[in-house]
Structure formats: C-alpha cells, structure tokens
C-alpha cells in the first residue's frame, strides 16, 4: 500500500507541476542506471550515494538511504528489516528508486521526494511548496507542552487550552500539540492555500480534524484579527513565523530557495515583519494571562525585546528566551502583562 503510494507519487508528482525541470530530470537519470546485477538495497544505496556525491548533491548518503528505505516500506535505512538489506529488489522497486533519485538530482528536498516526514511522534504528508518543519521546531512544541503541564488549570469549563497557531504550514505544530493535549483545541491560520489544504489533510489523516479549526487568513492585512474574534480569546499563540532576513534569502540552499514557499521564510529586512504583526494582534486575542511562543532567528531575542519596549501599548513582556539543541537562542516566551487589562489603546 505504502509502496504503491510512493510509486504513484513518483510518477504523478513533479512533472506536471514542475514542467521545467522534468526534461532535465529525465535526461539526467538515464546515465545513472545502476549496472546490471546491482540489485540489493545496500548496493543501491552505495550506487546512488556515489552518483549524488559526483553531482554535488548534499547529504548524498542520507538521501539515498531515505529513498531506498522508503521504497522498501521503512522510514530509515537503520530500521529496515535485516533481510531486506541483502534481498534482491523487484524491477518495480528499482524503477521507483530511480525515479525518486532523479528528483534528488534536481535538488528537491528529500521530504518532498518521499511525500512525508516525521515531526514529534507524527508522520505528516509533505508537499511543495509548503514549508518543511525543521527539527528545532520540535523543541518549540516541547516547550509549549512543558508550560501547559506546569500551568495551573485556569482554563475553566472548556478543559484544555485553546491555542492559535499563525502560519500553520503542514500543520506540524498544531497537530503535535493536539495529539499531546487531548483536551486542547486549535485554531490554525495560514495565508497560503496549499498550506491550508495540507494542514486539513494531515489533520484528517491523524484523526484530529474535530479539534482544529483551519482558517485561511493573512495576519498582515488590516483588521485580520477581527476574523478570529468569534472563536473566543485564546490561551496561547504559537508560531514559527517566516524569520529569515531578506538579504539572507539568496544564500539559502537550492533545496529551500527553489522549492519552499518564500512567503514561509522571508521575514523582511530584519526578519521581523510577521513577528511584529503577530505581536500586534496577540493582545486582542489572548486571555488575560495568555502567552505567545515563537521560534525566531538567533538575532531576534534582542530585536524583539527592544521592539516590545517601544510598544508599551501592547502590554506584552518577553519573559524567557530558550536555546535550541545547538545552543542558539531560538525560542521566545512572551506574556501578556498582568497589570493592564483590556484591549490596547489604539482600537
């Protein structure tokens, strides 16, 4: 079943949407046919690793391992059943690996090639150009879960927290929070139609669709917050907003630059454009003691701190900065000041 999905994707996906690269892809995989007699998984991984290396494809070994494992029905080469390491592959499997590898030669991210990736404990469907969740964001979710666990139950009658995610992409953050917090509800917004569709599909695949409200919304538009008011004040706002500085976009790897939606990455001159919009809208939607959790660039904690000080009308305080697993300041916890209640003055 899984294999069929993979093969179908391999054949249906890509050429239609990316007509430009198809011709190249086609011509580039013919010369890379593995020599006859090269038929088991281990040998195929070596073969494609060598091809990728020769063509300067990053993560050559990892890419070929993921592709071969995927076609054989496993998530990683490490977790492949041992008999499958040495067992000959069928012509269909060989062709499928060939097909998927040709996409990698075009620098397509492995996650798009496989059409799925894991986040926290969940397997999520991935499709271009929707932003691929990064491992750092798993830690953002961890932090939110820790805070929810520590918080006294102020939420009242409804049970679990009501959470707003801005820029949901594939739905990774929202859906992992929902799966860990059985009482919670999420409002997920994104301005991209592809993201809205993918979040909806992932929610359905994980049977979490009953607790998530997915709304197409551009938070940079004037008065956009008003659309969210009917869903009531929220306990938490979570976001991994586009935070790459505009001048850095050009230096990103082709995997990112040519495949992922720039709107999910480009945060403007100082990477603050969307962050500022989220922070401006948060006080209107948050409950009195509500919090905002953000993933940001390591330069942002300082920038956001001073920006908030310049906007006392928002009544938001930067209460904590957390580092990611590489030791870079990456996550922000911003809380609504207890002292001041009600909406900001400029309403």
């Amino acid at each position: 079943m899984k294999l069929w999905g993979g093969m179908l994707r391999a054949f249906l996906f890509g050429p239609g949407r990316r007509g430009g690269t198809w011709g190249q892809a086609f011509s580039s995989w013919e010369p890379h046919l593995p020599p006859a007699g090269l038929l088991n998984a281990t040998e195929l991984v070596s073969h494609w690793t060598a091809v990728f290396e020769k063509r300067g494809i990053p993560e050559a070994r990892e890419s070929s391992e993921y592709i071969v494992a995927h076609v054989l029905g496993a998530k990683t080469f490490q977790s492949l059943k041992p008999v499958l390491w040495t067992q000959p592959l069928t012509p269909w499997q060989l062709q499928c690996i060939q097909e998927l590898s040709s996409h990698r030669l075009q620098r397509m991210p492995v996650q798009y090639i496989l059409g799925e990736w894991d986040f926290q404990g969940l397997s999520l469907k991935m499709a271009p150009p929707v932003f691929i969740p990064r491992p750092e964001t798993e830690e953002l979710v961890e932090w939110v879960l820790e805070e929810v666990a520590q918080r006294p139950r102020v939420i009242g009658t409804q049970g679990g927290p009501l959470i707003l995610e801005v820029g949901c992409g594939s739905g990774a953050i929202s859906l992992s929070l929902l799966s860990h917090l059985p009482q919670s509800q999420v409002i997920a917004v994104d301005k991209g139609e592809a993201a809205i569709c993918l979040t909806r599909e992932n929610a359905q695949r994980l049977r979490l669709q009953d607790r998530i409200r997915i709304i197409p919304l551009d938070v940079t538009l004037e008065g956009s917050w008003a659309h969210l008011l009917p869903w009531g004040p929220v306990d938490l706002v979570v976001s991994n907003p586009p935070y790459v500085f505009s001048q850095d976009i050009e230096q990103l790897a082709p995997e990112i630059r040519s495949y992922e939606d720039p709107a999910a990455l480009d945060g403007g001159e100082e990477g603050m454009d969307i962050i500022a919009h989220i922070l401006a809208l948060a006080p209107r939607l948050l409950k009195d003691s509500g919090s905002v959790f953000l993933e940001v660039d390591p330069r942002h904690p300082e920038l956001v701190g001073s920006w908030l000080r310049s906007r006392p009308d928002l009544s938001l305080d930067l209460v904590a900065v957390r580092k990611d697993f590489c030791g870079r300041p990456r996550f922000l916890h911003i809380r609504r000041s207890e002292a001041q209640h009600g909406c900001p003055a400029d309403t």
Binding site: T76, V83, P109, D118, G121, R134, A264, D297, R328
Partner: protein, 378 residues
Amino acid sequence: MRSRLLLSAARCLWARGAVAPARRHISCDRLQLEELFARGGPLRTFLDRQAGSESQVRGPELVAIAKLLSERERELRETEHLLHDENEDLRKLAEDEIASCQKEIAQLKHQIILLLVPSEETDENDLILEVTAGVGGQEAMLFTAEIFDMYQQYAAFKRWHFETLEYFPSEIGGLRHASASIGGSEAYKHMKFEGGVHRVQRVPKTEKQGRIHTSTMTVAILPQPTEINLVINPKDLRIDTKRASGAGGQHVNTTDSAVRIVHLPTGVVSECQQERSQLKNREMAMKKLRARLYSMYLEEETSKRYSARKIQIGTKGRSEKIRTYNFPQNRVTDHRINKSLHDLETFMQGECLLDELVQSLKDYADYESLVEIISRKL
C-alpha cells in the same frame, strides 16, 4: 461433601497402616528448590526456628504459611495411602485429592519463596537489551541476528513492548550490534538472566566444506532507571547533531536526524539514528544512556553482594559463557544450571521453551538466595 468425609475417614484408617512410597510430581528443574523444602532439611529448620522465635523477622505471614504447608503435606501423605485401597471409587477420589493438594503445596512453597527472597529494586523496571557479535566473523553476526529475533519474539510472547533502538547489520544479513528497549510486567526480572556469552556450534551457511564452527555473541541486559532512580545533570551532557554548524532553523533543511549524546564525566556515549524525527532519536539515545549509567552504578553497588553466585547479573556475568546452542545435536544447554533442552528451532522461536529455561534460571537464582538467607540465619 460426602466424598470428602469418606476420604478423611479413610485417611485415618490408612494412616495407621503400611507406608507406601510417595509419588513425586516434581519436575527436575525445581529439584534443588524442592530439596531445600525437604522435611528435616535446612529450610524447614529455618522455618521452624522462625515459628519458635519471638522476633519472627519475616512477620507472622511466613509462619502462618509454613504451618499451612506442613498441614497440607501431612494431608497429602495420608491421602497417598488411599491409592492402594481396594475400593476403586475411593482410589479415584484420592487421586483427585492428591492433585489438588499438590497444587496447593506448590503455591504455598512459592509464597514462602516470594516472602523470603528479597525482590531486587529493579525487578519491575523496563530494560535495554544489547546484543553484540563476538568471535566467529560473519557466522557470529548471523547468529547475533537470530538471537535478537528470538528476544523480539519472546517479548511478543510475554506481551512486552519491544522497540529497536539501533541496528547495525553486516553485509550478508547478519548483525554486528543492536539494542532494544523492552518494557512490561516483570520484564527485567525475567530477562536479567539472559546476560552473558552465548555460544553457537553448527555448520555455518558460509562454510563450504561442511565443518562445524563455534562462534559467540554477547547479550547485555541493562535495567532502565526511573526518573527517581537516576538523575543526570544536563550540564554533563554533550549532544551532537549534524546541524551543529551554520545558522540552523529555517536557514537549513537537512535530513540527517542522527543524534549522539556524550556523558562527559564518564565518557559514556549513546547514539541513535533509527527515526526520522531528531527529537525521537534524542529520546531513544537518552534512554540508552540512562540505562548504561544506571547499570554502572548498580554494578558498583551489588558486585560485593553477589560475587559468590553462579548466576551473575551485570558485567561480571557478561564475560561468562552461559549457554551453548548446539545445532548438530539439536540442543541448547545452559551451563549455569546444567540444563539442556531439545528442539532448538522451537527454542529460538522465543516462546514456551525459552520461557521454561528462564523459569528454571529464576528458580535456581531463588534457590541460591534462599541458601544464602538460611545460612545467614542459622
């Protein structure tokens, strides 16, 4: 009801008659434990003293059960005489009575063992299973893969949770090293006896001239500490990932999710690349690291206590050859208790036969601790 009355009446009559040889329904695995329970044996003397002493270290429960055991045994002896009665109905009744009596006696003995043998702190814990190929090249690796499968099936048989943490195969489908997390009811209590060197004797698939080879592999069983058992200072850990260089976050999209954790004070290293999610890999690597550190700590604590025993747990036992799988003779022999089982294929399916051997080892370990307790108290 009438039959019970009849039985007790008949028993009284027979009690004065000739003594018939007692039927023994004891399987030979439990023999040593049974010998301890023999009338006039050391355990009985110990139990009698318990009953007589004022302190009653193990509480009144033990004394009560010991008393009940004596009564049931007397009843059994008396009933056994009836097996020679002329009355067929009575003989039939006696047989039934004996069966139920023996069952009860076995249960009582089991209760006494449970009360006397101290359960280990870790018995209820989950555990990490580690298998590593030893001497014998590819053949040792093939055997290691088979043993790993056997334990995976044993976990399924015992309805335990089994999760592979790492798996490093060899070129021809063997296994260099693997580890798994096993959890469930009394998982460590059962699995702890599996640690040590396992030896295989057979004609390897790779052998062309039909000669029998001897190869080995090593099993390590590490109890998984609970949060309270072991506290690790996060500052003592270095976590390595492929994302350590560069800007990270949205700036990069790498798929290498492998994680390596180093515990700086001890130099213990734990790695995982089993999952696509880096967070999951980190959790699994951490699980393994905690188990390794915990077993190091435990070994320091317990090495003195158990040094004299035949059945060793931990590092001491890890270098000891505990079991031989002899394929030409279709036999598996555990050298610690000198027990052999036949039908290797069934044994390696990790079901009843392996469970039987594990049970025997548990019994023997109980026997050893009982002997220790009795000799201490006498």
